[in-house]
Symmetry: C2
Subunit: 238 residues, 2 copies
């Protein structure tokens, strides 16, 4: 988890020594990201380097950037082209803090104990930091919902998660970090009340958006040969 | 639905007049798509022009192309980075025909009657043609599954549909058509038997891959202003 360590060292909570002043680091990261974003991003580069971010700079993400990301999200397919996705762009500090508190409570209240048995120590540390405030510290939380007036329950996930993936990819293409989280949705009623959602609009995921303290390391993935089969299960592909 | 009409006119079932010979059309389409694919595809172009295809040329899609597409799919995020996605690449003609027959049976046996009330006539015609053989005629059907040994049921959809979206986008980036279908999954047990899936591996979607008779028209999407809210539901964003 070299990437996690790197992000930790470069975060706003850095050592404070003259050579590692947070503001300086932050500016450098912003310049780098702006340069990347100025070149039209290659599709396969974006897809193959996208990765979950769980700590963010406090720097604002402006409306045109959020609009561009969410417009990409709306281009995802949906059953019957029903487009049941709904995006609540949470910028308000009190609301973000409330979502963060809810996430931390769910994490401490059971999710962490479960993950302790399943994740590597470094991965657990990263997720822990995200759930305990890292994600809520992003300047924008997008609560992605499904409108049950537009799609059947059986096809809702197939009609919303592709839009979430477009959202994550578009954020990365523009040099922003993000991550797909579903933990806050476990307390869906509470989240609905916070955001004033009508009963027909159901939260599905919470995605933070923000600039990164440092670039993320490459994602860790199993080779395709472990995941692909030809014609019948167990026959190697390719 | 200009796009649907356009695809119909350019399909292999064209009028047969000397100026509209199917083979000639097909060659021209392949040349065009190859030219497009030779330029590194811009991320936002790919995302904003991706669209469901429901009829395909019989031309083969080679293994390196399928590998590139599925490798992109494996880069999608998943809960706990569990990567529970499984891809069965169905090339065998008898298996594709069986999946096609199953899809047509489910379509005629209830799904079509339901959609008649919900889709426009042009859209219904396109979906009808796809369900009654158009999709099964693609040279490759990718059956995307979820391995329940790797992810909890609650997070399976969030861990598989992002991979499906990467798959669709990557296919489009390489000049191929595809579409996310879930109808065959309604008969999941039958599909599992056909593909020899172990009981822990559950079909989630079927995605055809193939070259297109003609480029697709632009996707039809509601404006973002109808889908986005600021802080609380009902407050316009941006």
């Amino acid at each position: 988890m070299a990437g996690t360590g790197g992000r930790g060292r470069c975060s706003a909570k850095g050592s404070g020594s003259p050579r590692r002043r947070p503001i300086r680091r932050r500016r450098r990261a912003r310049v780098l990201l702006t340069t990347i974003a100025a070149v039209p991003p290659d599709f396969f580069d974006v897809v193959q380097t996208q990765r979950a971010a769980r700590s963010f700079l406090p720097d604002d993400v402006d409306d045109p950037t959020v609009v561009r990301i969410l417009t990409a999200a709306t281009h995802a397919p949906s059953a019957e082209n029903s487009q049941p996705f709904v995006f609540v762009v949470v910028r308000d500090g009190a609301l973000r803090a409330a979502i963060g508190a809810m996430t931390a409570r769910l994490w401490r209240g059971g999710a962490r104990a479960l993950e302790e048995q399943r994740l590597s120590p470094a991965f657990l540390h990263d997720v822990d930091r995200g759930a305990m405030g890292g994600i809520a510290a992003a300047p924008v939380l997008v609560v992605v919902c499904g409108d049950t007036r537009l799609a059947f329950p059986q096809t809702m996930d197939a009609s919303v998660f592709p839009a979430v993936q477009n959202l994550l990819l578009a954020a990365h293409a523009l040099g922003l970090g993000s991550t797909l989280t579903t933990l806050p949705v476990v307390a869906g009623d509470e989240l609905s009340t916070l955001l004033g959602l009508p009963p027909e609009v159901v939260p599905v995921a919470v995605v933070p958006l923000g600039y990164l303290p440092a670039p993320l390391a490459a994602p860790r993935r199993r080779p395709l040969s472990e995941k692909a089969h030809l014609n019948t299960y167990g026959t190697p592909f390719p």
